[in-house]
C-alpha cells in the first residue's frame, strides 16, 4: 500500500521512525513536496480561519497527497513525554482534516500518547500495524527497527546536524560566506525546517557567514536542567523544549545572538518567548530578536529584520571589548 506522509508539522523530527515502520511492514511511503505556494493556498482555503499557519499548511499537504497515496498518515500526538502535553491542535488534527478537506481523504491515524509512560506511547503503533493487516509479532519487529532508525537520527541531531541537512540534503555548513559567529535559532520544527515558511532564513544566515545552532542540537538533560529554575513544571513539551534550549544557549554562551521565529497566534510561543526574553534581559543581554511569521509572501520585511539583526551583531562585535557587561569579551569569538 502507498502511505502518504505530509511534510508538515513534526515530520522533520519523526520521519525516520514513521518511514522505517511502514517500510518494514512492506508499504511504500510517499512524501508531499516541500511547502510551496500552492500547498499554502490550498491549506489556507480549506482550513478554519483561526488555526495557526502550520496547521493550515498541514491541510495543504494532505490535499497534495490525496490522489497519490492510498492512505494519508496523520499522527495524533497527544503527549510525547510523560506528564507533559503538546499543543491541543495536534490532538484534534485528524478531526480537523476530516471536516475541512473536501473529498474525504482516507486517513491512517496514529494515536501517540506517552502521558503515562513512553512505552505506552508506542501502543498506538501496534494498533495501526494491526489495522494495516500485519501480525502483532511482525508489527513489534518493525517497530523495534523503526525505533532504532529514529535513535540514530536523534543522535545525529544532537551531534550538531539538523533536519534540513539530513532530510533535504541542504548544505548549511558554517563558512559558506566566512565564519562570523554562531546564531541560535529558536522555533518550532515546522517553522525552522520549512524553507517556505521561514523564508529560507537558515540558508540566508549561513550565506551571511554564520554557523547555526538549533533546539534539536541541545541535549534533553541540559533542557531539563535549565528549565528547573522555574518553580512549576513546564508541562507543554515544546514550550519546554524551546525555552530550555534557548536558555542553554544563553548559559553556555553557545550563540552570539538568538533569533526566535514564531508563528502568529501561537499560544505556546507567547509564554516561551516572554520567559526567554526576560531571562536574557536579566542575566545575559545578548542580541535576541523575535520574528513573527504568517501568510506574508513578501520577503522584504523579513529580510530587513534579518539584516538589521546581523548588522547589530557585527556592530557590537567591533565594540565588544568595552561593551560586555560581564567584563569579558562575550561578543568576541
Amino acid at each position: 500500500m502507498k502511505i502518504g506522509i505530509p511534510r508538515a508539522l513534526l515530520w522533520s523530527i519523526y520521519l525516520p521512525l514513521w518511514k522505517a515502520f511502514f517500510n518494514e511492514l512492506g508499504h511504500e511511503v510517499v512524501l508531499s513536496p516541500p511547502t510551496n505556494k500552492k500547498i499554502l493556498n490550498d491549506g489556507v482555503t480549506a482550513c478554519v480561519d483561526d488555526a495557526c499557519l502550520p496547521v493550515k499548511i498541514m491541510h495543504g499537504h494532505v490535499i497534495d497527497l490525496m490522489d497519490r497515496a492510498d492512505l494519508i498518515f496523520i499522527p495524533r500526538l497527544i503527549s510525547i513525554c510523560p506528564r507533559e502535553y503538546i499543543c491541543p491542535k495536534f490532538i484534534g488534527l485528524p478531526e480537523m482534516i476530516r471536516n475541512s478537506v473536501a473529498g474525504g481523504p482516507k486517513l491512517l491515524v496514529l494515536d501517540f500518547n506517552a502521558h503515562k509512560s513512553i512505552r505506552h506511547g508506542y501502543d498506538g503503533f501496534i494498533a495501526i500495524g494491526r489495522q494495516l493487516g500485519a501480525r502483532e509479532s511482525a508489527v513489534r519487529r518493525a517497530l523495534a527497527r523503526a525505533m532504532k532508525a529514529q535513535d540514530e537520527y536523534t543522535a545525529r541531531l544532537l551531534g550538531g546536524s539538523n533536519p534540513l541537512m539530513l532530510l533535504e540534503g541542504m548544505a548549511l555548513h558554517a563558512g559558506i560566506g566566512g565564519n562570523k559567529g554562531t546564531i541560535g535559532l529558536i522555533g518550532h520544527p515546522y517553522l525552522l525546517y520549512d524553507r517556505f515558511v521561514s523564508m529560507d532564513a537558515c540558508r540566508k544566515l549561513a550565506q551571511m557567514g554564520y554557523r547555526l545552532i538549533f533546539p534539536e542540537n541541545i541535549l534533553p538533560e541540559q533542557i531539563e536542567r535549565t528549565c528547573s529554575i522555574y518553580p512549576k513544571k513546564l508541562f507543554w513539551s515544546y514550550g519546554k523544549h524551546l525555552l530550555g534550549s534557548g536558555l542553554a544557549m544563553l548559559e553556555k554562551g553557545m550563540a552570539d545572538g538568538i533569533i526566535v521565529l514564531s508563528s502568529f497566534g501561537c499560544g505556546i510561543d507567547s509564554f516561551m518567548v516572554e520567559l526567554l526574553q526576560r531571562q536574557n534581559q536579566r542575566d545575559f543581554r545578548i542580541p535576541l530578536t523575535v520574528i513573527t511569521l504568517d501568510e506574508h509572501s513578501g520577503n522584504a520585511g523579513f529580510d530587513t529584520r534579518l539584516e538589521a539583526f546581523v548588522d547589530m551583531l557585527e556592530w557590537r562585535d567591533h565594540n565588544g571589548h568595552y561593551f560586555s557587561p560581564h567584563g569579558e569579551g562575550l561578543y568576541i569569538c
Binding site: 540558508r203 565594540n319 561593551f323
Partner: protein, 337 residues
Amino acid sequence: MTGIDLYMGIDVGSVSVNIVLIDEKYNLLEKLYLRTQGRPIRILKEGLEEIHQALPLHSRIAGVGTTGSGRELANAIVSADVVKNEITAHGTAVLHYIPDAQTILEIGGQDSKIILLRNGVVSDFAMNTVCAAGTGSFLDRQAERLGVPIQEFGALALRSATPVRIAGRCAVFAESDMIHKQQMGCSCEDIIKGLCDALVRNYLNNVGKGKEILPRIVFQGGVAANVGIVKAFEEALDQPVIVPEHFDVMGAIGAGILAHRKTSRTGDTRFCGFNSLRGDFAARTFECKGCTNLCEIVEILSDGKLRARWGGRCGKWSVAAGDETGSLSVAQGSPSA
C-alpha cells in the same frame, strides 16, 4: 580643482521618498521629503532631478546610500554604494547628531520600530509585527475621516481638555471606537488626543515591550511631525523626548553617512551619474513558472534595457543592479535540493 565631495542618501519608504545631500562633515545641504503617491519610481526620478538642479557648483556625488523598504528599487535606479536596512541607517544618523542618545522611537508610514543604543552601537531593536495599527498611514486615514488636515492634527490634540479613551490595539477597533465616541458627542480635539494616546500606548506595549527606554530619547520618522504624539510620548514616558531637526529624513541621512564610510574605504562610487537617470525607467513583473511557488519577479528597465531583477525565492532570476554595460551576471542561486 577637484571640487567638493558630496554624499547622497535615499530612503524609499512606503509613504515617502526622502533624499538628502550631505558633505564630508555630515552637514545637511539639501533635503527632500516627497510623498510616494504609489509611484515610487517616478517620484524618485523627479526628486533626483531636483537634487541635480540644487547641486552646488564644483561639487560631485562621491557616494550614494539607499535604505527603506524600497532600497533595492532605489539601488536599481541609481547604483548605490551601500544598500542598508532602516535600523542601521537610523541608528547611524542618530549616533552622529545625538551621540549620547540611548533610545530611538521611530514611526514611519507602515512600520514602527524602537532602537536601543548603548555605548555608541545599536544594542537591541524591535519592529512592529504583523499589524500596522498606530503607524503614519493609519493617522493619515483617520485625519482624512475627521476632515482635519494631517498637518493640523497634532496641534488640535494639544487643545484637548478631557481626552477620551480609544481602543488602540487594532486599527479597525480604533476606528469603530472613534466613530462611537463621535456619536456620543465628544469633541474632535478630545478624540484626536485620545487617538494619540492610544497610538503611543499601543506602541509602547507592542513594539516597546520589555525594552529598557533610557534617556536621551529621540523620536523620529514622519509621525514625529505630530506634536500631539510627541506630547503623548512625553506624558507616557514621563521624560522629555527629543525630535531632531531633520526627524523626517534621518534614515536618508544615515544612508548618506554609510555611503561616505564605504566609499572612503573603496575609494570610488558606483553612482551612475545624473545624466543616465534621464532615461525612461519602467518596472515590469512576471510570474515565474519554474515551480509551484509562482514567484513574482520584478524587472527594472531603463530605456528597454534590463537594469536589475529580483523577487524569486530560489534566486535564479536575481540580477544585481549597477552594471550599465549590460553584461549582467546571473547571481548564484541555490535551487532547493
